[in-house]
Amino acid sequence: MSVNIAVNSKRPVNLDLRTIKLPVTAYTSIVHRISGVILFIAIAGLLWMLSTSLSSESGFEQVKACLQNPFAKLVLWGVLSALLYHLVAGIRHLVMDAGIGESLEGGRLGSKLVIVIAVVLIVLLGVWIW
């Protein structure tokens, strides 16, 4: 009876994410989501690049010239970084779907691996772009 009262009573509940100390797995998860939203927004820009670059020789040169702009390079780096992070974190999901790294420790290790691999790839991407 006392247990029921405890469950039904209005105990304070804190679901305010800003005040909760998040574990590393939560950070990789939310960044996966944020990168997904960034990519959704970026589709239009990427399609514009594809459309213009395929339209004609001059369109192709136009996209090339556009990508020489430092600001354009920064935006492209940002979008492709989101893509690489989303890809690496997504592969981790598939690995976990296969039953690998599902334990608490495995989850933490997987998250750390995602961060390390993604950072390395994003740095290499930056080297490639500049």
Binding site: A44, S53, W128
Partner: protein
């Protein structure tokens, strides 16, 4: 009881599967295109145009466009149902969520049609 009519297949299990199958296709296309760009540093218009005028590449691209539509719907739907909730937005949540999903769905449809036009619209 959870009742939901806005998810892709009206089944969480199918949505889960659709998200993964589309993810594998998107990953394959991403790696292929990045690999192509990495292996062709001084890419010319003729090479680029040649790649996309290949029918196999058009089929691969169209498949990726379908996968992208499915994947982005499941993803944006998940985000909308997680954050645009009555807990955060009260009674307006349902209308807000519906509008958000409608905009995402319409945007993705327009992008899909545009993508088809790009793939078959040049030369």
């Amino acid at each position: 009881m959870v009742t939901n009519v806005t998810n892709l297949s009206r089944s969480g299990l199918y949505d889960w599967m659709a998200q993964r199958v589309s993810a594998v296709l998107l990953a394959a296309y991403t790696l292929f295109l990045l690999g192509f760009l990495l292996l062709n540093p001084g890419l010319t218009y003729a090479e680029w145009q040649g790649l996309f005028s290949n029918n196999a590449m058009r089929i691969f691209s169209l498949l990726t466009l379908v996968a992208l539509s499915v994947h982005s719907w499941v993803g944006m739907w998940t985000i909308s149902t997680d954050y645009l909730t009555p807990m955060a937005f009260g009674k307006a949540a349902t209308v807000l969520r519906f509008l958000f999903q409608a905009i995402c769905g319409l945007a993705m449809f327009v992008l899909f049609v545009w993508g088809v036009q790009i793939l078959w619209g040049f030369n």
